[in-house]
């Protein structure tokens, strides 16, 4: 994507970056640990699920330069499979979540194989179309119960010992899942694999000429992103005891793009901030129905025209200016 977006990481001193990330991570974790004492825990859990979803999406867009407009298919499909596994097969929650994650990973392999055959704008259109296909599948397949969705999914005992019917226990399990996903993404971005991904984003022909089979890297990133989006969706289904068509709809694909754009594409913490802002907004504007859609659209327009770095991107730029000046 646009060049000005990605310079910060290239130009910043690695050690300073790691220190800054560690500090920010500790602040974030401290906030999440005490959050249930201050805010309604179910709300924070919802935001955490979406934050993980957005982080997974950002792995693909911010670090791979691939704009997927169909990520809802992974969130929604994993939710359906997890809900079905917990309710119909009677699996304990950890296996239900694993089943959901596995399903979206497999879906990611197929969708990825097709989508990476095209670049840029076409990639976005292909993923959007594939997601629409999954949407119609979910609308018609018997196990998803169409418009009703899968309701009253049992939460059960996590790992046989943690009773998820307690909101507090559930909250910390969700926080643990989010943290694991978040750290995995952080690790991937800073691994040699992540570096190659960035090289492909910046200049794919050059990466090819250096001998990298870029197709493999892009597919791996796509599948990883799909799997983690699935983890978010499966967890969400267990938390809300519900899997519904909302999570597979294209508007959900748009929402995760918005979260990432608003928070800051290609930043580590941006998607988390973006997810919390959008979910908070949704909380207050949901009753107003179409006003929420209009607000979302307006944020898109403002971000694209005037605020392309997003919240965290602007913050980083400001910190860097202060350090330099």
């Amino acid at each position: 994507m646009a060049e000005d977006q990605y310079k910060p990481h290239a130009s910043r001193d690695d050690a300073a970056e790691a220190r800054y990330d560690r500090k920010a991570f500790l602040v974030m974790m401290a906030l999440f640990l005490v959050a249930p004492a201050v805010v309604y825990p179910v709300f924070v859990m919802k935001a955490l699920c979406f934050a993980l979803f957005a982080c997974a999406f950002n792995l693909l867009l911010g670090f791979g330069g691939l704009l997927s407009f169909g990520h809802a298919m992974f969130l929604g499909m994993a939710g359906y499979v997890a809900a079905h596994a917990a309710k119909v097969w009677g699996l304990p929650p950890e296996f239900a979540i694993l089943a959901g994650t596995a399903a979206s990973t497999v879906l990611g392999v197929f969708a990825g194989l097709l989508a990476i055959r095209r670049q840029g704008i076409y990639f976005a259109m292909v993923t959007l179309a594939l997601a629409q296909m999954v949407y119609f599948f979910c609308l018609q397949a018997p196990f998803t119960h169409g418009e009703d969705g899968i309701q009253a999914v049992p939460r059960g005992m996590f790992l046989g010992v943690l009773d998820l019917s307690s909101t507090t226990v559930l909250y910390y399990v969700v926080l643990a899942i989010f943290t694991a996903g978040f750290l995995l993404i952080y690790r991937v971005i800073h691994s040699p694999f992540g570096q190659v991904l960035k090289a492909i984003r910046e200049n794919e022909p050059r990466a090819i000429s250096l001998g990298y089979r870029t197709e493999h890297y892009k597919l791996a990133a796509f599948v990883l992103s799909a799997g983690l989006a699935g983890l978010a969706g499966a967890t969400k289904a267990i938390v809300f005891q519900l899997a519904s068509l909302t999570d597979v709809h294209w508007s959900m694909s748009g929402e995760v793009v918005l979260m990432t754009l608003l928070g800051g594409m290609g930043t580590i913490f941006g998607p988390v901030v973006g997810a919390f802002v959008i979910i908070t907004m949704e909380n207050y504007l949901a009753e107003l129905g179409s006003w929420f859609t209009i607000t979302q659209g307006a944020i898109f327009v403002v971000c694209v025209l005037a605020f392309r770095r997003g919240v965290i991107g602007e913050l980083e730029a400001w910190l860097r200016r202060r350090r330099a000046g």
């Binding site: 646009a2 097709l114 704008i121 296909m133 129905g289 859609t293 659209g297 898109f300 025209l305």
Partner: protein, 294 residues
């Protein structure tokens, strides 16, 4: 002779006709997308919303100003095209130096705003728009009943598509346009006002969407979300056809409409997804699209 492949001919031809109608709209919409993409390198996500605006414009012209369908056919595309010109001047023109994906994101945001605003004003229920008197009724062709209005839509959209193809491929103006697609800086150096050409091209593409909206108003109900799902199918059509050629967009649009209609007869469960399945197959065999070039 009332059955073909075990399907009553009435049903078969009926669905074929519906397929051709849908195909007309796919062709008109993907034509507009292709024209815009050719010069601006932007995928216009607002296209579905602009199609809807065309239908609403026809509705307002009839109910507020008393102007009938034929006036709407001219006035609504002009009005919708004008909004497109404003959008291009105020917003899109700021993004040409950036990655093309920003254009997609901006137009997606605009689509959300427009669809949200119309839904806020008019709800999700459709508003009726009646078929103009001269085109109501139909003819019995012996093997099927052909409503006049549907025949008109197919013919009109064919004429518009071929006309657009002619202007772009066979006239001086079209030559400028194609030249600017290849190398805008060079065309500018020859004294052609390229920025204005870009603005008008976007306006024209949007006007095509508006025109499709007017023609759709009597068939589908005038509904704030009528373009939202259609545009995703049209995207798939565009991926299948490839955006290299104008004729390609038109042929693919009509062809896929027919395929969709036939699927409704032989395997109705798949009628919603058949175009996406075809897209997946085309991506495997010929990733650049049927008429596309790398």
């Amino acid at each position: 002779m009332t059955e073909i492949f075990g399907v009553p001919t009435q049903a078969l031809f009926g669905q074929l006709l519906i397929g051709l109608i849908n195909g007309s709209f796919y062709a008109l919409l993907s034509l507009g997308l292709a024209v815009i993409f050719g010069l601006l390198n932007i995928i216009n996500f607002t296209h579905g919303a602009q199609y809807m605006m065309g239908a609403f414009a026809a509705y307002f012209l009839l109910n507020k100003l008393g102007l009938n369908y034929w006036w709407a056919l001219v006035a609504a595309p002009l009005a919708v095209g004008a909004t497109g010109v404003v959008v291009e001047r105020l917003m899109l023109s700021r993004l040409y130096k950036l990655d093309h994906l920003y254009g997609l994101l901006l137009t997606f945001g605009l689509a959300l705003i427009i669809q949200g605003a119309f839904r806020h004003e008019y709800g999700s229920a459709g508003l009726p728009y009646s078929i103009p008197e001269i085109l109501s009724g139909g003819t019995n062709l012996g093997f099927m009943f052909l409503p006049k209005y549907r025949a008109w839509v197919i013919v009109a959209s064919l004429v518009v598509c071929v006309g657009t193809w002619f202007v772009i491929e066979r006239t001086k103006l079209g030559a400028y346009l194609r030249a600017a697609t290849e190398n805008p800086a060079m065309v500018q150096a020859f004294g052609v006002n390229v920025p204005r050409m870009i603005t008008l091209t976007y306006g024209f593409g949007v006007a095509l969407a508006g025109l499709a909206g007017v023609m759709a108003a009597p068939i589908y109900q005038v509904n704030p979300l009528m373009g939202a799902d259609t545009i995703i199918v049209v995207f798939a059509v565009v991926v299948i056809g490839g955006m290299g050629s104008i004729m390609g967009a038109v042929v693919t649009g009509f062809g896929l409409g027919i395929v969709e209609g036939l699927t409704k007869v032989f395997y109705p469960e798949a009628s919603n997804t058949v175009i996406f399945v075809i897209m997946a197959i085309v991506l495997m065999i010929r990733p650049q699209g049927l008429f596309g070039s790398r």
